[in-house]
Each structure stands twice: as structure tokens, then as C-alpha cells.
């Protein structure tokens, strides 16, 4: 298969273009810094994007709207738990992952027991998660342990640590999606739930694991983001709702489900950051940046629908 036919190709090409356009303005200076910043900030979008991608793969109507709330809750509770004590970093991470896991279980149970569309289930759940976060936070900003803070802002061999974490997760996600039986089942579910069930795919198990996995990744992102930015903030997850869906769409995964790819998530995440810095460096503000992003998202689905239009 030729490379430009890969679904993720265009997100990478667009990201590279935005990168080059930015460097053009600075005559190639600060390229390293820009790349490093892009890798760091894209990491957060990439991790939540991977979770959202798995959920979206399940097909129409499947989307996790509770990602920001799960992130905030996990970040808040884990930082509160650690209380700045470096000895508690690993248990703190477990707390964050546990919170995410619990949030995922809660989401799934709502979907299963109340038989309501995932959008409404995750929406209602997000209200509750958010409230618990507000309650436990009480406006205090607890600092992360110094060593954790250093790790999240540091780099190894010139590559930001966060990017390394997100890369490892991306590789794992890629293996699960492309090589494992779970990935096959997930794709079958997204293409045709009924046919998947009639072919012996354990669809309820697939649905449960997908929602739980997505929320767990959101929990991890909350932990990393809170540590990176020196403490949890109640609005820290807000922008990631739209971003998590946007990187999936830009990355060339099918919004209709069944066909997703991991490299595109990284491409989309990098692009989302680089387009901002490009427009910034050309003196265009946040307004234009948002309009361009929205236009790109709509353009991509409109263009993709032509190919996908069958019967």
C-alpha cells in the first residue's frame, strides 16, 4: 500500500506543514524547542485520544463525554492522596488509574443497566464525577511531589518523558488494535454489531472493556497533566472533550466505527498543537485558530463521507 493512502497520512502531512510554516517565519530557529513542546502537549491529547478512539470504534452513538470529568477527578484525588510526598508516587498513580477504572465501570453500568445511549450515560456520569472533584478539591491547589513534577517536565535523551510515556501507550494500543483478538472483535462490533454477535463475538465484554479502558486512560492523563502543570485545576480537562474527538477524526479513523488507527492519533495530536503555534506565530489569535480547527474537522468528515457512501 502506498503511504499516502494510509488513513493517518494526511494528519501527519498537515502537522509537518504547520511545523514547516512556523519555522519559515523564524528562519528555522527554535525548531528543537517547538518540537519538544509539541511532543509534550500532544502527549496528553494522544493518550485521551487513544481511549476515545477505542470508544468511537464501537460505532455510531458511542462516544465518551465524561473524559474531562474523569481526568479532573483522577488528577484531583491522586494529588490529594500523595500530598506532595514522593514516597507515595506509585500508590498515587494507582489511585489515579483506579479512579479512571471506577469511572469506566460506572459509565458501562449506566449504559447496560439503564439501557440509555452512551452519550447520555457518560454525560450524566460526568456531572457526578465533576461534582466529586469540586468537592474534594475545595479550591486548594496541592502540589505534586517534586520528583514527579521533575519527571513530567523533564526529558530523556532529548525526548520529553511525557512523550515517551504516550509513545509506549500508543505502541501498546496499536498491538491491541491490530494484532489482538480484542482488536478484531472491536472492529467487528463497530462495523456491524448484530453480525458480530451472530458470529460469536462477546459484544458485551468488548463494550465493557472499551469504556473502562477509555476512562482509565483519562485517569492517567489527569494524573500526568496535574503533575505537569503543578497541581490539579477544576477546569483542567475541559478542552480535552473536543480535542479527544477531534484527534480521532483528524487522524483518519472512521467516525462511523469499525476502522481506526493509532498513528493517526499522534498525527492529529501533533497537528492540533502545531496549528496553534503556527497561527500564533503569524499573529493570528485564538479565534482564527478555533475557526480553522472546526473547518478542518467538518471538511474531513464531509470529504470522508464521499468515499464511505455506499448503498
Amino acid at each position: 500500500m502506498t503511504i499516502w493512502k494510509a488513513p493517518w497520512f494526511w494528519s501527519w502531512a498537515a502537522g509537518a506543514l504547520a511545523f514547516a510554516a512556523t519555522l519559515l517565519l523564524t528562519d528555522g530557529r527554535n525548531g528543537g524547542d517547538l518540537l519538544s513542546a509539541a511532543l509534550t502537549f500532544a502527549s496528553f491529547s494522544a493518550i485521551v485520544g487513544i481511549g476515545q478512539m477505542f470508544v468511537i470504534t464501537l460505532g455510531p452513538g458511542n462516544v465518551d463525554l465524561s473524559i474531562p470529568a474523569s481526568m479532573t477527578l483522577a488528577g484531583t484525588l491522586s494529588l490529594k492522596f500523595m500530598g506532595g510526598d514522593a514516597a507515595l508516587i506509585v500508590p498515587g498513580l494507582m489511585v489515579a488509574l483506579g479512579v479512571g477504572f471506577g469511572a469506566g465501570v460506572f459509565n458501562y453500568l449506566l449504559i447496560r443497566l439503564l439501557r440509555i445511549p452512551p452519550i447520555i450515560a457518560t454525560l450524566s456520569a460526568s456531572f457526578i464525577f465533576q461534582s466529586i472533584a469540586i468537592w474534594s478539591n475545595r479550591g486548594l491547589r496541592i502540589k505534586p511531589p517534586q520528583s514527579l513534577s521533575d519527571f513530567t517536565t523533564g526529558a530523556t535523551l532529548g525526548v520529553p518523558n511525557l512523550a515517551l510515556v504516550a509513545l509506549v501507550l500508543a505502541v501498546i494500543a496499536w498491538v491491541i488494535l491490530d494484532r489482538s483478538i480484542f482488536g478484531r472483535w472491536l472492529s467487528a462490533f463497530g462495523q456491524n454489531e448484530r453480525a458480530a454477535r451472530l458470529s460469536g463475538v462477546p459484544i458485551e465484554g468488548v463494550r465493557a472493556l472499551t469504556y473502562i479502558g477509555c476512562a482509565t486512560l483519562a485517569g492517567l492523563t489527569g494524573f500526568l497533566l496535574a503533575s505537569f502543570s503543578g497541581g490539579a485545576a477544576l477546569n483542567m480537562g475541559t478542552e480535552y472533550l473536543l480535542v479527544s474527538i477531534a484527534v480521532v477524526v483528524i487522524g483518519g479513523s472512521s467516525i462511523a466505527g469499525g476502522n481506526s488507527n493509532v498513528p493517526g492519533i499522534w498525527g492529529g495530536a501533533l497537528f492540533m498543537f502545531l496549528i496553534v503555534s503556527m497561527l500564533n506565530s503569524y499573529g493570528l489569535g485564538a479565534g482564527v485558530r478555533l475557526i480553522v480547527t472546526g473547518g478542518i474537522i467538518i471538511g474531513i468528515v464531509a470529504a470522508a463521507s464521499k468515499k464511505g457512501a455506499r448503498a
Binding site: 439503564l114 447520555i120 454525560l123 450524566s124 456531572f127 457526578i128 461534582s131 468537592w135 485558530r289 472546526g294
Partner: protein, 311 residues
């Protein structure tokens, strides 16, 4: 559940909540108290009706919040300084909404992603118009929103008015019936020779009208605007429609219920403060009420099905 029965649950939820509020705080049972309780309900109710128009045709709109914010920014700037230009901008925005509906039907796009993209666009436009919080509300809307009618506070009068107008428009007119038919059985509508593209555009256009009204009223209450003023309305409006007895698919919606649902959400916040519970729980309470109502509805549906099976 038929239409008459469907409205009972929202009314009961609101009545219970209102009774509990009065019980906790008898002083709320006054002109001033009620005005305080439902103060912010009017723009939420309008946004909820807007969302209902979209849910009516089996879609979902993730851009309501940013659209209302955008309108608020236009209202606090152009509509105040140059009313004609402001009005033209708003008309163009409503036309844009209708065009999005047509595009979604024409190309068979997923509404959730297109409206997500539009939420970036509206947000960007809002920032372009009003980069930092400010602006001034036009005097006329300020007057309307603060008028003190005898006996019943303005918030209640306005809510009743919105409910009546939306009910007449959607439940009583022949065009309203046709729009609901799209949600109920789009194939049958198309088979009778109607253009689904036009009908969808009409539904989205109506959503634009009510969304614009929501933004204008919001500025009338707050006297100034900012680009993020109504971001929460996206989720609140979906919750309001569902609380009001609307269903996600099948065109089963209730305009009166939607307004009641919005009032319930607005009241949930005030209620907690009367209970001397921390306002931290406000959002959580909204989520909990949503889950509670959905559970009760499931129980009703189950017992109905049992009755139906017994026949």
C-alpha cells in the same frame, strides 16, 4: 408511554424538588424568592428547546453552548452599538445553522462530529468579536429581562411563554407534525415525496432561532458577555431535553417537558444552597437527578411492557 403520560414525570420531578425547596426554606415561597430560584432558567430553557429541535430529528447538537456564547457576544457588542448589523449577523448565523442541517442530511454526515466542528467555529467567532469579557447589554433586552410583572416573577412568565410558543410551533402546526415525523419514520416521510434535506434544514434553523434567543436573554441577565459564557449549555440542554421526557431517537419530544426539564436543572442548583449543602454538589445533583429520572422511566417502561405482554 404516550404524550400525556410522558409529561407527568417531568412535572412530578419539578414539583417534588420545588416542594422540598419550600420545605427547607419557606421564605423562598415568595415573589422575590421565586425570582431568585429561577433567575437563570430563561436562557437555559431556550437553549434546551433549541437542542430539542435537533433531537427531534434524531440528531444531537454539541455546538449549542458555543453558539449561545457567540450570540451573547454579538448581542453585547454589535446589537448594542449597531443594531442593524447585529441583527444581520444573527440572521446569518441562523441561516448557517439551517445550512449545517441540510449538509448533514445531504451528505449523510454524523451530526455529532459536524456540530462538534461547528462548536469550534462559533467559539472562534465569539473570541474574534469579543476577545476579553465585556460589552454592554442593549437597554431594551435589559428592560425586558428585569421587568417585574405583578404576582408572578418574570422568569416564570417567560418560561411559560417559551413553553407555549414551542408547543404551538412543534405540537400543533402541520409543519411541526411533519418535522416530528422525520424523527419517527424518516423513510415513510421520504416515500410520501417530502424532501428530508429541507425538513432537516428547517429543524436546524429553528434550533438556531431558539439558540439566538437564548444568547440574547442571557446577556439581558448578565449585562455583559464573554466568549465562554454559556459553554455548559451544551450538556445542560441535552440533560434538559431528556429530563423533560424527550427520547433520543424516534422523534419523541415534548416542548413543555423540555422547559420544565430546564427549570428543574436550574432549581437543582438553588435547592442545594437552601439545604446548606455546598454548591460544589450542584453539578453532581443535576447528574444524579438525570440518572434518577432515567431509572424511573426505565421502571415505567418495563411495567408498561409487562402490561402489554399480558394483554
Amino acid at each position: 408511554m404516550n404524550a400525556r403520560f410522558r409529561i407527568l414525570l417531568p412535572i412530578a420531578s419539578l414539583a417534588v424538588l420545588l416542594a422540598a425547596t419550600f420545605y427547607m426554606q419557606p421564605r423562598a415561597m415568595s415573589y422575590f424568592g421565586l425570582n431568585l430560584l429561577f433567575n437563570l432558567a430563561v436562557p437555559i430553557a431556550l437553549a434546551t428547546v433549541a437542542q430539542m429541535m435537533i433531537i427531534m430529528v434524531n440528531d444531537i447538537d454539541l455546538s449549542v453552548g458555543t453558539f449561545v456564547s457567540f450570540v451573547a457576544c454579538v448581542t453585547a457588542t454589535y446589537l448594542n452599538d449597531a443594531p442593524l448589523i447585529g441583527a444581520l449577523i444573527l440572521l446569518a448565523a441562523i441561516a448557517g445553522y439551517a445550512a449545517i442541517g441540510a449538509l448533514i442530511e445531504l451528505r449523510q454526515l454524523p451530526a455529532i462530529v459536524v456540530t462538534l466542528g461547528m462548536s469550534f467555529v462559533w467559539g472562534g467567532l465569539a473570541i474574534l468579536i469579543l476577545p476579553s469579557p465585556g460589552g454592554t447589554a442593549p437597554t431594551w433586552i435589559r428592560t425586558i429581562m428585569t421587568v417585574k410583572p405583578p404576582l408572578v416573577p418574570m422568569a416564570i412568565v417567560a418560561s411559560v411563554l417559551i413553553a407555549v410558543i414551542a408547543h404551538l410551533l412543534i405540537m400543533r402546526t402541520s409543519s411541526g407534525a411533519l418535522l416530528r415525523a422525520v424523527g419517527g419514520n424518516a423513510r415513510a416521510v421520504a416515500r410520501s415525496g417530502w424532501s428530508l434535506v429541507r425538513l432537516k434544514a428547517a429543524a436546524y434553523g429553528l434550533a438556531g432561532v431558539f439558540g439566538a434567543a437564548s444568547g440574547i436573554c442571557l446577556v439581558g441577565l448578565t449585562t455583559s458577555a464573554d466568549a465562554n459564557i454559556a459553554l455548559r449549555y451544551t450538556l445542560l440542554s441535552i440533560a434538559g431535553v431528556i429530563l423533560g421526557g424527550g427520547e433520543f431517537t424516534g422523534g419523541r419530544i415534548s416542548p413543555v417537558g423540555a422547559v420544565i426539564g430546564a427549570l428543574t436543572l436550574a432549581l437543582a442548583g438553588s435547592f442545594l444552597s437552601f439545604m446548606r449543602l455546598s454548591p460544589d454538589w450542584q453539578i453532581g445533583a443535576q447528574g444524579a437527578i438525570l440518572i434518577l429520572v432515567l431509572s424511573v422511566r426505565l421502571l415505567f417502561a418495563r411495567s408498561n411492557r409487562k402490561k402489554g405482554a399480558a394483554q
